[in-house]
């Protein structure tokens, strides 16, 4: 499924009749009048599908800002669910035009696709039950090999937590973070680790059952995944984001920013397109 977002945020102004150089991705999309965007459907604050089938969140709003600049209104955006493990594939396969899905920029991924952005700097952190005093950060995991931590199959956090583990058996993997959150709430795992903003979403939904502990121990710049080597599209996205500061802030505040203790971020410096 997929669908258009409702009035969750103030809609960015849709460009009237944008002009693009012929042959570029932008020209194609503008001509076509629709865009297919991969995002997560299970991540409160960034991309969550509600019962009506609409997706809501910061990633969704970012996609809308970019689409607007292409002359595509929100209802013409088709959102496709892309869990962590399949993001490169759908880009390579041309099933989506871009992926905005809490997508950490790294070199391994750059071998298969290109990134625009980053549009947000996240960092990996640890979430535990509110009454848990035992875990104070990733290092607690090494100290007590009985503790378990959950993350998502194929995600960077799953790889990055490994050095902090005494035993690989401490790591439980699911294909969605929401399953990790369920397992935390029913006591099957002791902690969940991933990017702090994702965790914040769960914390705010949990009515005080969950909390974040320790400092963030990695840097996770979120980028927009696009077809490898599409430099023009990359630059277009970077320019668009830079030019829409206000919409960017509003996007944050109406979604992930509603979580307690979340500050409105500055748009980070874009990395060079390649």
């Amino acid at each position: 499924s997929g669908g258009e977002s409702e009035e969750a945020a103030a809609e960015p102004t849709v460009a009237e009749v944008p002009e693009f150089e012929a042959g570029t991705t932008m020209a194609e999309l503008a001509e076509q009048g629709t865009i297919t965007v991969g995002t997560k459907f299970d991540q409160p604050g960034f991309g969550l599908e509600n019962l009506e089938g609409d997706v809501e969140g910061f990633d969704v709003e970012i996609a809308k800002i970019i689409a607007a600049e292409l002359g595509i209104s929100p209802e013409k955006i088709k959102f496709v669910q892309t869990p962590s493990a399949i993001r490169e594939e759908v880009i390579e396969g041309g099933e989506v035009d871009m992926v905005v899905a809490t997508y950490t920029i790294n070199d391994k991924r750059r071998e298969r696709i290109s990134f625009a952005g980053p549009y947000y700097e996240a960092g990996q952190q640890i979430m535990v039950a509110a009454d848990n005093d035992e875990i104070t950060g990733p290092d607690s995991l090494k100290e007590n090999p009985d503790l378990t931590v959950c993350s998502v199959t194929g995600s960077t956090p799953a790889e990055q937590i490994k050095p902090y583990l005494a035993d690989p058996g401490q790591l439980t993997l699911f294909d969605e973070y929401s399953q990790c959150a369920d397992s935390l709430s029913n006591g099957q795992v002791d902690a969940v680790t991933t990017d702090n903003v994702i965790l914040l979403g769960f914390v705010s939904e949990s009515d005080g059952d969950f909390k974040l502990v320790g400092e963030q121990f990695t840097e996770e710049p979120y980028g927009v995944g696009i077809a490898k080597g599409d430099v023009a599209f990359c630059e277009f996205i970077n320019e668009t984001l830079a030019a829409n500061e206000e919409a960017y802030a509003e996007a944050w505040e109406s979604t992930a920013g509603q979580v307690e203790g979340a500050e409105t971020p500055e748009l980070p410096e874009p990395q060079p397109c390649s």
Binding site: S1, F41, D42, L51, G53, I86, E89, G93
Partner: protein, 299 residues
């Protein structure tokens, strides 16, 4: 009664009394277990309307949306299952006929294919169907329903066609040799004998096995849920409980739907068999052998 006769003698008064006592004890134990289960559910507030409302109370605000999702899920599950079933029965029959009529050299590659497809977990085949095919450049997205649906159908077809082939072959082989001979003696060609006499009977004999395999196909559509996005029943259940945070209730309803569909399928098979039974028992003893085959490939 016939089921028991191999194990038990005709009952006398003592045996009847023992059975009565056993009945009471069993009922008490089952009731006690049920009581414990229900109490645990109550303790954990699993009967609260907050958790059940969206599923069973039409007045609940989420009710319509939830059942719309479930409805789509049922349609999508049935679509994938139905197409895969038809394809695998057709291809399976062709393979079976080929294997029955080819000489030894022609049979060997077929047997190899059968062994390979049967040796792999379906979930691995589904992965190949929906992920790997895409990666190696096989584009199915042009087909109605898209890449994932057809990848899934393809995987289920490959896995199940070889099983159907075995079932049909076993069915043909279970017929008395005389059926084929009588057909040939009447002047039919091999093809006519297969088409007019053997296959129709094999399908009847193997109906239980075929149906239980269809149930397997239907259940296996849910494997796609943690491999790719196809909004079949299980995936829809996941997205409902993500929003409502009521996994037990949601998946109870989902499980119930699966059981209802599959149970209906099996009952349908029984009904058809009973109707045929009245029309004329088949030439082979049906129950045991076919049940065995059904069980064989069922899991």
């Amino acid at each position: 009664m016939s089921e028991q006769s191999v194990l038990y003698d005709a009952q006398g008064p003592r045996a009847r009394r023992r059975t009565r006592i056993g009945t009471v004890v069993a009922l008490v134990v089952i009731a006690a277990l049920a009581f414990l289960a229900v109490r645990r559910l109550i303790d954990r507030e699993q009967f609260s309307m907050e958790r059940w409302g969206p599923l069973i109370d039409p007045g609940n605000e989420a009710f319509d949306a939830v059942w719309r999702l479930i409805g789509t899920g049922i349609v999508n599950t049935l679509t994938a299952a139905a197409v895969a079933m038809v394809l695998s029965i057709v291809l399976g029959t062709l393979i079976a006929v080929a294997r029955l009529s080819l000489g030894r050299p022609g049979r060997i590659p077929l047997i190899g294919l059968v062994e390979l497809c049967r040796g792999l977990p379906v979930v691995v085949l589904v992965y190949f169907g929906v992920r790997v095919l895409d990666d190696v450049g096989v584009d199915l997205s042009g087909l109605p329903g898209g890449q994932v649906l057809w990848g899934l159908i393809l995987a289920l077809t490959v896995y199940n066609m070889v099983i159907f082939a075995e079932v049909v072959r076993a069915g043909v082989n279970s017929l008395p040799r005389g059926q084929r001979e009588a057909a040939l003696a009447t002047g039919m060609t091999n093809g006519q004998a297969m088409r007019l006499v053997l296959l129709p009977q094999a399908f009847r004999v193997m109906l239980p096995a075929i149906i239980s395999q269809l149930v397997v196909v239907l259940k296996d559509t849910s494997l796609v849920a943690f491999i790719a996005n196809y909004d079949e029943l299980l995936s829809q259940g996941e997205s409902i409980q993500r929003n409502l945070d009521n996994p037990i209730q949601t998946f109870f309803v989902i499980a119930l739907i699966y059981v209802a569909i599959n149970y209906t399928l099996s009952k349908l098979a029984e009904y058809i068999q009973r109707r045929q039974g009245r029309a004329g028992r088949s030439t082979v003893q049906e129950t045991d052998d076919t049940e065995l085959v059904a069980v064989r490939d069922g899991a």
